[in-house]
């Protein structure tokens, strides 16, 4: 059982953010990112929502895909751009400073995959729905949505255990950073409701973390808003 809410404490220092999250999560988030990268085909065009320091975008680019990565935090965007320059990936990864509420500016059906790790849980419920709606819109038919995030566990016992672990971390995080996160509920149902086929839902961290892979049907179904 584990909660990523502490990451809000580390966001103030983008330069050491990945290393610290990695250390505290005991390698979990890195393994998740590798799983996501494995699902990306070389030569495709990928959108990363909330790219943070650009670690995942770098990994995807190394696999041979091109990435449009964006984040609402200017500090994170600066760090991500530095990283792309350092690693010579400026051609393959474009980093933009924008919030999910600007996703309506992205062209419809223009990406083969949309990825987001630990992003939706930072948004309000309305923003989450908005981001997902636009993620579906910008996917090409047959394109895939890959989401990894903290979720509400499915059984009462696990929910209680999760809260017992999360609440003290949440309290410290809040006191220091005046911010927190919100575990997602019913993610696969939400995605099905948006017209996607859910291919995979893999839970980890005592059922409190999910990697969800969904596909936009080839025949563009009526997408419910």
């Amino acid at each position: 059982m584990f909660s990523y809410v502490f990451m809000k404490l580390l966001e103030g220092r983008p330069e050491s953010y990945d290393r610290r999250v990695e250390r505290v999560s005991g390698g979990h988030i890195r393994a998740i990112k590798e799983q996501i990268v494995d699902a990306i085909d070389p030569g495709t065009h990928v959108l990363e929502v909330g790219c943070g320091t650009g670690e995942l975008a770098t990994m995807i680019a190394a696999r041979g895909a091109t990435v449009l990565a964006f984040d609402a935090s200017e500090k994170m965007v600066a760090e991500a751009r530095d990283r792309m320059a350092r690693e010579g990936l400026e051609e393959k990864v474009t980093v933009q400073s924008m919030a999910v509420t600007a996703m309506d500016r992205l062209d419809a059906a223009s990406f083969d995959a949309v990825v987001a790790t630990l992003v939706l849980s930072e948004l309000t419920r309305d923003e989450e729905r908005y981001a997902l709606r636009h993620a579906v819109r910008v996917l090409r038919p047959g394109g895939r949505l890959l989401l990894a995030d903290e979720v509400v566990p499915r059984t009462t016992g696990r929910r209680l255990a999760y809260q017992a672990v999360r609440l003290p971390v949440l309290a410290v995080t809040y006191l220091v950073s005046t911010s927190s996160t919100r575990p997602l509920e019913n993610l696969p149902e939400t995605l099905r409701h948006l017209g996607l086929e859910v291919l995979q839902e893999e839970r980890s961290l005592g059922d409190a973390f999910a990697l969800v892979v969904a596909r936009k049907p080839q025949q563009d179904k009526e997408v419910e808003a």
Binding site: G12, A99, T101, A102, R125, D126, E127, L175, S177, T178
Partner: protein
């Protein structure tokens, strides 16, 4: 109505009390009804709903991390992004046919009206400062009278914000007495109530520009009284000296950050921390922000008349009335000395005609 949040939002206001963001229906609103933006602090939303009884409107609750409009805007938690997000993600676009939001002017330190327009296409208007003026403002075809534009700090507002912000301190000190010196608890509560009512009731008239100056004056008087107890006899059955010391400490508690409790006086705490050289505690920043720099005199609010288009946005958002227009309808900095450095004018100016210039 959530009883826990009602008590929390009333007495533990130093901590956030969030409510879900999105659209709240007030009365029976239709596609032409006004859209009023507010923060997602539970108490603010409840009070608005209560105050707007009889009005048909859409209340657009935007993210402020569960903090009130003024504090969240000054701390940049209630900002352009919150309002843009609320407009674009709440579904309000499908509920109304017009495209105008009424913004709370105490949020102007965080929300740029021009950027909201730019990012959403929605027009913005600044509503009245106080919720209780909203029905009259709407009835007058969204015209604000002068008093509707300016913040006040009435007795009711003082009692509300002082108790709401300071209660945790009072509570924990009382708890300390209960555990370690229960025989003094009654005296503590009595002194607390008396000093609270005296200070919060009379603070606008107690000499001193800053809260701490008012506290020093009162504590000096109490110090004299304390000294007098060694000359004049005091009742043996009442711990007079203890009560006087309690009162001195309590005045410091009530008044130490008096400015920060209101929207008409500047914070004393932030510049104090900045002078100590403390940059931040968690996400709360002190030294190096434009606001604290203005308060400690490291920067000066500067107006460039040659760049100014006299659009009057600075006049519209300043809760104090620091800006005014001269006889030629030109905007000028009329009352710099009253500025609380909320930076709302800087946020709204699209002509770079206002700057916090390094001193």
């Amino acid at each position: 109505m959530n009883p826990f949040k009602a008590v929390w939002g009333l007495l533990f206001r130093l901590f956030p009390c969030p409510i879900q963001t999105g659209v709240v229906r007030i009365g029976n609103p239709g596609p032409d009804s006004p859209v009023l933006v507010t923060c997602n602090f539970y108490t603010t939303v409840r009070r608005l709903i209560r105050t707007l009884k009889g009005v048909d409107a859409w209340l657009l609750v935007a993210e402020s991390k569960g903090v009130n409009v003024w504090c969240a805007a000054c701390g940049n938690e209630f900002n352009t992004r919150s309002v843009v997000s609320a407009i674009k993600t709440s579904g309000i676009e499908d509920k109304v046919t017009h495209r105008t939001v009424i913004l709370p002017p105490l949020g102007a330190a965080g929300i740029s009206a021009a950027e909201v327009k730019d990012q959403t296409g929605w027009h913005t208007r600044w509503g009245p400062v106080r919720a209780k003026d909203i029905p009259a403002y709407l009835a007058a075809h969204r015209k604000r009278t002068e008093p509707m534009k300016r913040a006040t700090y009435t007795l009711g507002e003082r009692l509300d914000t002082a108790l709401g912000s300071m209660f945790p301190f009072y509570f924990f000190v009382a708890l300390g007495f209960l555990v370690f010196a229960p025989h003094l608890l009654g005296y503590f509560v009595g002194t607390l109530v008396a000093t609270f009512l005296v200070f919060i009731g009379l603070c606008p008239w107690i000499p001193g520009k800053h809260g701490w100056q008012k506290v020093l004056l009162l504590d000096a008087l109490l110090g004299l009284a304390l000294a007098a107890t060694s000359v004049w006899p005091v009742p043996a059955d009442i711990p007079v000296r203890t009560i006087l010391v309690m009162a001195m400490v309590l005045f410091a508690l009530h008044g130490g950050e008096l400015g920060g409790l209101s929207s008409i006086w500047a914070s004393d705490f932030d510049p104090f921390m900045a002078r100590l050289g403390l940059r931040s505690i968690g996400n709360t920043r002190f030294a190096g922000t434009t606001r604290t720099d203005l308060l400690i005199g490291a920067r000066v609010l500067t107006h460039y008349p040659e760049k100014c288009s006299s659009c009057a946005e600075c006049i519209n958002v300043c809760p104090i009335g620091v800006w005014d227009r001269n006889e030629h309808k030109k905007t000028f900095l009329a009352h710099r000395e009253a500025c609380t450095a909320c930076c709302a004018c800087l946020k709204q100016c699209t002509e770079d005609a206002i700057e916090a210039l390094a001193a």
